[in-house]
């Protein structure tokens, strides 16, 4: 009760401070000799108030204060302590409060870390950021206040969806939001820089850190969500082209492109308009990600509770922000005429620009696949869905030139270049093609496309691998990230080529056998936990080589809410995962058993970690080397 009141008033005070801050900033902007000391302290105060509000919500969850509607809807007294805390952001209201928390935190860090930037620029960034912050305050208070009362006070809550009671999903939203919200700083900063016409090399090297930071978090956030889907949803895949996954991939694609453009901008004063547009779209995509997930417009397996009013608000807010930024872009942006287009075709710039096109192409494919069903529904009320074949067909063929340019591009020099050591480049290409023919030759289906795909990713793999030795610490960050990417594509390809699956219905004691494996359903046992009962099956699986593995997948039946979830049992080794999941069928003695052998799963996760590690190396490096 008490905490709800404190939390609620902190929010109102924070909103008020946002307005005060805009007033102070405008006043200071007219007379910009020194940054008003009040601005910094008020920004800190605003952040502090949101922290208090957030802590109040956490405490309400921990104390199971069911007079709070959010707690009532999403918690339960028997829920483990860890998930009481994590449950704070496992719902719509709490996760938006987390958004707000990160928004205020980032603008504070921005103000502290930019002491040597022009004062006008800092103030203007603050103003734009405060506009976003105020928008989110109003959104939170008006449509999704986390501190609403219920009276009479219920004695027990409704509980958290069991599928969300999972460690990976407890930290997935905060990490993802750090990435999403990081792009808000890039957005505000690019608008400020455009208005003041200081989109320069100096600005680029300063904003690069922010782009890198949010890129790292976004990458890790997507990875965590993917790992969770792999072991919790029981489908044995890591990416389903589900709309909710797509909306996190789209800002990532835009941000990755932006990162590369900023590198070009930092070297040479070109592509400025492109950088501005990309910054705006990254943030717009991050926000529409929140909008699409939270409004329930998307028909997705991850759909949570929805409310049309929320969607409408974010939509209006988003459109006004985009309108504002386009206005600024067209009225204030002046292109530098002096420095244009004096680079040649065979240069690093060209390679980056061409790969930018590919990225934009991938982005538009994902975008169309995600929003087309919504449009069709609105226009003709026809219900459709777009499945994985659409994405595979449109994306996979273009991965080949993408990978090849990714391999050759970094070898080129800025402005104008001739390819050195052609012999190496060509011989590596031949080796890659030869190797991939060896790998693929036993598979009759799609021989050609698989060979081409594997050779191009092997090519990138070898070239980056070789660069570790001949270049050493030069370009290390980029090399790690590109190496990670080649490893990722290779692992995904091998994974999809060599996976095998058995789905069958078994009774306890029965045995399934085919040429690939023998599955014995030995026994089941039951276990009682605080908030769920579990049924654990014991399976003995013997593969074609006679290797025996004991696997015990679990079926959890939670008491509040009364939902069953499957906990897959996964035996991970360096080369492959053995994955088994069971499911009970209502009023039947059959269990639905799904057994999969998934090669290189571990490498998919590792390579994504490697990619973000590349970002980290670049982040901590003092100065970008030539």
């Amino acid at each position: 009760m008490l905490f709800s009141v404190i939390g609620n008033y902190s929010l109102f005070l924070g909103l008020f401070l946002g307005l005060v801050l805009i007033y102070l900033s405008v006043k200071n902007f007219k007379n910009p000799k020194l940054l008003d000391a009040k601005i910094l302290s008020f920004t800190f105060l605003q952040f502090f108030l949101v922290v208090i509000s957030f802590l109040c919500l956490v405490l309400s969850f921990v104390l199971s204060d069911f007079s709070n509607e959010t707690v009532f809807n999403n918690s339960h007294t028997t829920k483990p302590f860890f998930y009481k805390i994590a449950g704070t952001w496992g719902n719509h209201e709490g996760s938006l409060l987390l958004w707000l928390l990160v928004l205020t935190l980032f603008i504070l860090i921005f103000l502290i870390r930019t002491k040597n930037q022009p004062i006008k620029y800092r103030i203007l960034t603050l103003i734009f950021q405060q506009i976003i912050i105020i928008g989110f305050f109003i959104f939170l208070i008006k449509t999704s206040n986390p501190f609403n009362y219920i009276y009479p006070v219920p004695t027990e809550g409704l509980g958290l969806n069991p599928i969300l009671q999972d460690p990976a999903l407890a930290i997935h939203p905060p990490i993802l939001y750090l990435g999403y919200v990081g792009s808000s700083i890039i957005f505000s900063s690019v608008l400020a820089a455009t208005t003041l016409n200081i989109v320069t090399q100096k600005w680029a090297s300063h904003i690069k850190k922010w782009a890198l930071g949010s890129w790292i978090f976004l990458t890790l956030g997507i990875l965590l969500g993917s790992i969770w889907a792999y072991y919790e949803l029981g489908w044995g895949g890591f990416w389903f082209w589900d709309p909710v996954e797509n909306v996190s991939l789209m800002p990532w694609l835009a941000l990755t492109t932006l990162l590369h453009c900023i590198l070009v901008l930092e070297k040479k004063l070109i592509l400025t308009s492109w950088v501005i547009i990309l910054s705006i779209s990254t943030f717009a995509l991050s926000m529409s990600g929140t909008f699409l997930v939270r409004s329930g417009i998307l028909n997705s397996v991850h759909t949570f509770a929805n409310d049309p009013e929320r969607g409408l608000f974010i939509l209006i807010f988003l459109f006004s922000l985009i309108f504002l930024s386009l206005f600024i872009f067209f009225f204030f942006h002046k292109t530098n005429k002096n420095n244009l287009s004096n680079f040649f075709w065979l240069s690093k710039e060209t390679a980056i620009i061409v790969n930018n096109w590919f990225m934009m192409y991938f982005l538009s494919v994902v975008l169309i696949g995600t929003v087309y069903p919504i449009f069709l529904d609105v226009l003709s009320s026809q219900k459709i869905s777009v499945g994985p074949p659409f994405y595979h067909k449109l994306i996979i063929p273009f991965l080949v030139p993408f990978l090849l340019i990714m391999a050759i591009g970094p070898k080129l020099k800025w402005i104008k270049s001739n390819l050195d050591d052609k012999i190496y480049l060509i011989s590596l290409l031949i080796i890659s093609i030869f190797l991939s023919i060896l790998i693929v030759k036993n598979f009759s289906s799609n021989f050609l496309i698989n060979t081409i795909l594997i050779s191009s990713s092997l090519y990138l793999f070898f070239i980056t691998l070789r660069d570790f030795f001949i270049k050493g610490f030069k370009n290390l960050a980029q090399n790690i990230a590109h190496f990670g990417f080649s490893l990722l594509i290779l692992s995904i390809l091998f994974n999809s080529l060599f996976s095998s699956e058995i789905i069958t219905n078994l009774r306890v004691g029965e045995t399934f056998q085919n040429t690939k494996a023998k599955i014995v359903f030995e026994s089941i046992r039951q276990k009682e936990e605080e908030n769920y009962k579990s049924i654990i099956g014991n399976f003995i699986v013997q593969d074609s080589k006679g290797k025996i593995e004991n696997l015990s997948p679990e079926l959890r039946i939670y008491n509040q809410p009364n939902i069953a979830t499957s906990e897959a049992d996964i035996k991970t080794t360096l080369l492959s995962d053995k994955f088994i999941v069971i499911n009970m069928l209502q009023n039947q003695d059959f269990f639905n058993v799904r057994y999969q052998v998934k090669p290189f799963m571990l490498w998919i996760w590792l390579s994504v970690i490697l990619i973000s590690f590349g970002g980290l190396v670049s982040f901590v490096k003092k100065k970008y080397e030539k």
């Binding site: 029981g234 949570f304 287009s341 459709i384 869905s385 659409f390 499911n583 799904r594």
Partner: protein, 139 residues
């Protein structure tokens, strides 16, 4: 005739245009091929011609209709006006149960038989896919 710069710029613009047109063409074409339509049992009964393409059917799983055999699962999807028999081989999601909403993806054999290749899972027991809600009317 023209300077090198003009030629370059012309080439650049042409390249962009070609890529754009190609993109739009590719995307539209493959959308047309890969889109999956959603239908209710009543809509299928009313079909004049059976579609060979993959579709989705949504409704409620009829009470006492689930029948499990070693290799497949049979059940009936109903929208309380019409129903359709479904046979399915594959993994079954946690929230699949009688008297609950379901979406099945697969191919029509005729107006009464549907062979499903996938049953879609939903995260929330109270959640009803919007299509199913609509197909069921205001129940």
């Amino acid at each position: 005739m023209y300077g090198r710069k003009v030629k370059l710029r012309f080439l650049f613009v042409a390249l962009i245009l070609i890529t754009l047109i190609l993109t739009v063409f590719l995307v539209l074409k493959s959308l047309e091929e890969n889109v999956i339509y959603f239908q209710s049992p009543s809509e299928i009964k009313a079909l004049s011609e059976l579609d060979k393409k993959k579709i989705r059917i949504g409704g409620m799983v009829k009470k006492n209709s689930i029948l499990v055999e070693a290799s497949e699962v049979k059940f009936i999807i109903t929208d309380f006006k019409n129903e359709i028999n479904v046979t399915y081989t594959g993994a079954i999601p946690n929230l699949f149960a009688e008297d609950k909403g379901v979406v099945a993806e697969g191919f029509l054999k005729d107006r009464n038989f549907f062979s499903a290749t996938k049953i879609l899972a939903k995260h929330d027991e109270n959640y009803m896919p919007p299509e199913v809600k609509e197909a069921l009317g205001e129940r």
